[in-house]
Amino acid sequence: MDTERIFRALADPTRRAVFERLAAGEMSVGDLKAGFDVSQPAVSQHLAALRKAGLVSERREGRNVFYRITPEGLAPLANWMQRYRDFWPERVERLKTVLKEMEQ
């Protein structure tokens, strides 16, 4: 992988935001654009740069194109989210049980 390209690709905050958004899973340009204050062509442009850097890959399905982070691309937030998303609700359920068993 070309390190200079990676640096350039992630130096732009919006592009990094697009990249980190994909950490949640595969998305279309439309999915990616939702919630961003950026035009669709701009998102596409960022995706092209990320693909060039080898951080993102695309998959075509009929007329739709989906993007995802390549295995080489880091997905730290996604890893963390996956580990803790179910952990906290489950622990809160346990807390409720513990509170019931505790003395006043």
Binding site: M1, D2, T3, E4, I6, F7, L10, P13, T14, R16, A17, V18, E20, R21, F36, D37, E72, L74, P76, L77, N79, W80, M81, Q82, R83, Y84, R85, F87, W88, P89, R91, V92, R94, L95, K96, T97, V98, L99, M102, Q104
Partner: protein, 140 residues
């Protein structure tokens, strides 16, 4: 927008019929905290370092430091495990205890994670194992 892109959070809220003082004990007394969260040696004092045993998905310990504490109301501590260290993340958990009108408690748990981008990119570069020029090293 930028802020959102570089951090994420998990929020869990619940209302229980128990008094805030009781919920506070469940959050700050080691044996009680262990009964629902993880085995630990918590000390509810600002700056106190403690650990929780058994990080989800990774195992090992979670290293914590109390960043903020308002007795009976709020405790906030850093949360670092093998996974967050490896991924270049900084994470913090806060527990806010609010009394409800009928004598119960509203508990709000927020676990926030922030990407330490420089570190993440640095690791990516090492993983790439490419020729790093002196300029790139400085940038990293």
């Amino acid at each position: 927008m930028n802020e959102r892109s570089q951090q994420d959070e998990i929020t869990v809220e619940c209302t229980v019929p128990d008094a805030p003082e009781k919920v506070w004990r469940a959050l700050t007394v080691p044996e009680l905290l262990a009964a629902w969260l993880l085995p630990n040696d918590i000390r509810p004092e600002e700056g106190a370092r403690f650990s929780l045993d058994g990080a989800p998905g990774e195992g090992g310990s979670v290293e914590c430091e109390v960043l903020e504490i308002e007795p009976q109301r709020l405790i906030r501590y850093s949360w670092r495990d093998k996974g967050t260290a490896r991924d270049g993340l900084e994470t913090v958990v806060s527990f806010r205890v609010l009394p409800t009108a009928d004598g119960g408690t509203r508990l709000r748990i927020v676990h926030q994670a922030r990407v330490l981008v420089e570190k993440a990119v640095g690791q990516r570069l090492m993983a790439c194992n490419s020729n790093v020029t002196p300029t790139m090293k400085m940038a990293a």
